[in-house]
Symmetry: C2
Subunit: 286 residues, 2 copies
């Protein structure tokens, strides 16, 4: 018998991957958690029927979350990761000796345990002594912080599920206050191609722009995600992520990456006309 | 009843689009030709079960084929398009008043007629008086040309079907000779993510490098293509496509585009580490 997992990118578009084995399938307090073994994408974590990470291409997402802000501001010392239960962002962060503190807040304890059991190579990054894992609501956690973090990574799932609060004006406001003066917030911002996720991105960008003077989108090719095309949001009170970036300083650190490099850094901020036009038109129609 | 079209990206990965109506389905002398009406991607041309163009995202592919070389060498006057039966490349080319001659060579006459009937908005570009459509074998056509074209666009289908000859050393050699001294060849080079197409790309790049001193890959986000991630090859005896490019000259032409812009130009040549490493490793193992 053949087993196939199918993710619905829209009502009319489906992406299917042949499954060698279902390794875990359970409803946690917050969501359906599935771990699948596949040939083309290796082991995959699927939450509420959406692919969250695959062994084959998770490095792209996690490198782009971490190294883009680290290139812009190499003196980042204290980092907060909201979500990030797999440990992929942490794995990239601990490549920097200068980072002193990494707090990771995830509300779903079952998910944390599943990641540790089924993705041990990624999750072993949590053993680094600078890392503190907190089980709790990211929104409540960040609300209590003031002028603490140099970098906040919002490594959330989709804006339509249990983590919808991580795309709200309220949440971005708390993040803004939790950041140090020159701090940076990076968010995952969905695919700009299909209308329902594009609209969610437009809303999130508008909310960030109300709070941060500097908001820029950047992109990556992530084959296991809808349209293979993913956006990230860069928000700061201080730094433009393209101007005055010291690539030589970053290169001197000799950080090993499989996707990211200094050319990708600048290229990732080159957004297609249609994406920017859709964003502008949607904003004007509000 | 629901109708779905499914393209197999690998033996284990499928991409499916709901079909509102099958408008045309016939085996020509060379290939299976299907035209499908869909909601998410509009009208689609499918050849031998692979999506070739969709109304929703064909502009990305065609803009990237044409405007990248035109930015590098704005004085291009004579252009040869191999394949290109839809007219998408021609539509972009005729935006330049300075182009004097556009020869389009396609071997499948039935495909040409299907495109004119079912994609009239794209195919109307063939009516421009500078365009000459030739039904014939691109390889034989280009073999007879010497120092004629400033730009050759190899707008072919996959390297596994009837257009395999457009990925051979012989063909690239003919193109090299058919080009003027400072001429440019642009090729479609498949997705670098799945191994079978990545390997075809590696072979093609090595062949081009034997003939052209300057060979560079560039990329675009094309959601209807495998992995949503497509590569193009830029080959020239003369120009590097990133250095000494005069963006102001191109901007002064006020060419209207929906994907391409001057930032995308440079960003598209920023290739991820894993793509370049796979290419180097595969070359060393030969």
């Amino acid at each position: 018998m053949e087993l196939w997992f199918t993710e619905e990118h829209t009502d009319d578009v489906r992406f299917s991957i042949k499954v060698e084995k279902s390794l875990y399938s359970k409803q946690s307090k917050y969501q359906n958690i599935d771990v699948l073994q596949t040939k083309s994408f290796g082991r995959m974590l699927v939450l509420d029927d959406s692919i969250v990470i695959s062994e084959k291409d998770e490095f792209i997402y996690h490198e782009m979350m971490v190294h883009v802000p680290m290139m812009v501001k190499p003196d980042i010392k204290r980092v907060l990761v909201i979500g990030g239960s797999s440990g992929g962002c942490v794995r990239e962060l601990i490549k920097y000796d200068t980072i002193e503190q990494i707090d990771v807040v995830e509300m779903d304890e079952e998910l944390v345990q599943v990641c540790k059991k089924y993705f041990p190579k990624i999750a072993r990054s949590f053993k680094d002594e600078r890392v503190k894992q907190i089980i709790g609501d990211g929104l409540k956690f960040v609300r209590k912080k003031d002028d603490v973090y140099d970098l906040i990574l919002v490594d959330s799932t989709d804006p339509f599920g249990p983590q919808e609060s991580f795309f709200t004006r309220e949440f971005y406001g708390h993040c803004s206050r939790a950041l140090t003066e020159q701090g940076i917030m990076v968010t995952q911002q969905e695919s700009p191609f299909y209308p329902h996720t594009a609209n969610a991105m437009h809303r999130a960008v508008r909310r960030m722009e109300e709070l941060f003077p500097e908001v820029q989108l950047y992109q990556a090719h992530i084959p296991s995600y809808p349209a293979g095309y993913w956006l990230f949001g860069f928000a700061s009170h201080y730094d433009n992520p393209v101007h005055n970036v010291d690539t030589r300083a970053w290169l001197s650190l000799k950080i090993k990456t499989h996707y990211y490099n200094e050319y990708i850094h600048f290229g990732s901020f080159a957004i297609p006309n249609y994406v920017m036009e859709d964003l502008e038109n949607d904003t004007q129609s509000q």
